[in-house]
Symmetry: C2
Subunit: 264 residues, 2 copies
Amino acid sequence: MAHAPATAWADVPADQLLVMTLASGAQIVIELAPQFAPVHTGNIVHLAHAHWWDGGAITRVQDNYVVQWAARDEKAKPPGGFIPHPPAEYDRPRQGIPIRPLGFSDSYAPSAGFAAGWPVGTDGNRVWLAHCYGMVGVGRDMPPDTGDGQELYAVNSEAPRQLDRNLAVVGRVLTGMDHLGALPRGTADMGFYASKAETVPIRSVSLATDLPAAQQPHLQVMRTDSPTFSAYLNARASRTDPFFVRPAHGVTLCNVPVPARQKP
Amino acid sequence: MAHAPATAWADVPADQLLVMTLASGAQIVIELAPQFAPVHTGNIVHLAHAHWWDGGAITRVQDNYVVQWAARDEKAKPPGGFIPHPPAEYDRPRQGIPIRPLGFSDSYAPSAGFAAGWPVGTDGNRVWLAHCYGMVGVGRDMPPDTGDGQELYAVNSEAPRQLDRNLAVVGRVLTGMDHLGALPRGTADMGFYASKAETVPIRSVSLATDLPAAQQPHLQVMRTDSPTFSAYLNARASRTDPFFVRPAHGVTLCNVPVPARQKP
């Protein structure tokens, strides 16, 4: 991968990056996926721009499931442009979304693969983002509620793919998942922290373009339509490292994490 | 599950339980699987009985992969009965191991299911434990080394099933995975802690039968050949909770964690 050509990597636009800084100083950078959930990600951009989550908190860490966060005061008035009841962007038309097939069967979708750097499932007519480790979605109440983007979660576990097409997936953690993954687990129902004192304070969540130039992250994601990615995928399925005495010759979608890096 | 009959649960024998206590006081209880790796688990029992890991440390926490621990002084002489070079117990004959099929295809094994409470893969002739969240295996060097049981790891992530049949899986974390999952990630290569000061000290690892009766855990694992487990498996694959607007009607082996509980 170190020898991959520059063309194997795509820059992530700064207006699709959220920078979350915890009170501890730990930084988490999230890439949004407007092509999959335009209304929800639009809301998230409006909220970040209005510093909605500054002073908020991580309120839930359920072991082997999700990390979830929200603003402190959920009764505050959302900013202009915010759409209170987005449509259920749980999937989208397949049209216009080229997919690089995984090449192996999937237990949750008729077919699985990668679209513009994202892990996806598809039934041929619709396509949806898969709940892999580090993917970010929009918390919601019981249906027909679809969530609005104020409350977000990141997968910290064995991929809960049963959530695919049941929630709006809006992005993924590109860097800093090691911080979210290591947070203390909540002890109340569903992994919520039992008291406000236990919650993990968030200093700020900013859109990268709202930060001074020197603080903006410059990240790249591997192009999933590149030969480099094909070689990587094949190596994940059929390990050639001599440590492996019996390569599996098979792999699941979420066990092929799409590589990301600092832009060199 | 709360209404399952007592017959749906099997007691875990105390001589197959390890109790790990971290210096922080956090307790992790591990069930051994002697039917799958008799020589390696025999070594582990001898080592625990000799307090091998007391004063040891967790030396590696790789995000989305494994937590690994060892004794402090790896040059100490192992106790009597310890076998320095166990056979490669990466799988075993299928004979004598009834399997409750998962009922869905598997990406890593010709077939997957549950054997006496354990997640397994099989090709009809051989059967092996699957690297699901919380499963415990024996670290090893390059082949033909098979490890000896002194260095153990637990899966803290998306199931690294590529490791199946490549390492000796010897058990699983029954309680306390929330503690191991939340440990700080190591920043050196492969998630090792960069300095000894960063490692997580282990107070003791004891065989449950070596503990005073009042300190012995009494745990049960759901019988995977029970009607209760069948109902649970079906519910994991086809969610009936009204939160789900579109049940998957499919599930992976490691997304059906076998329930465990304190013995009532």
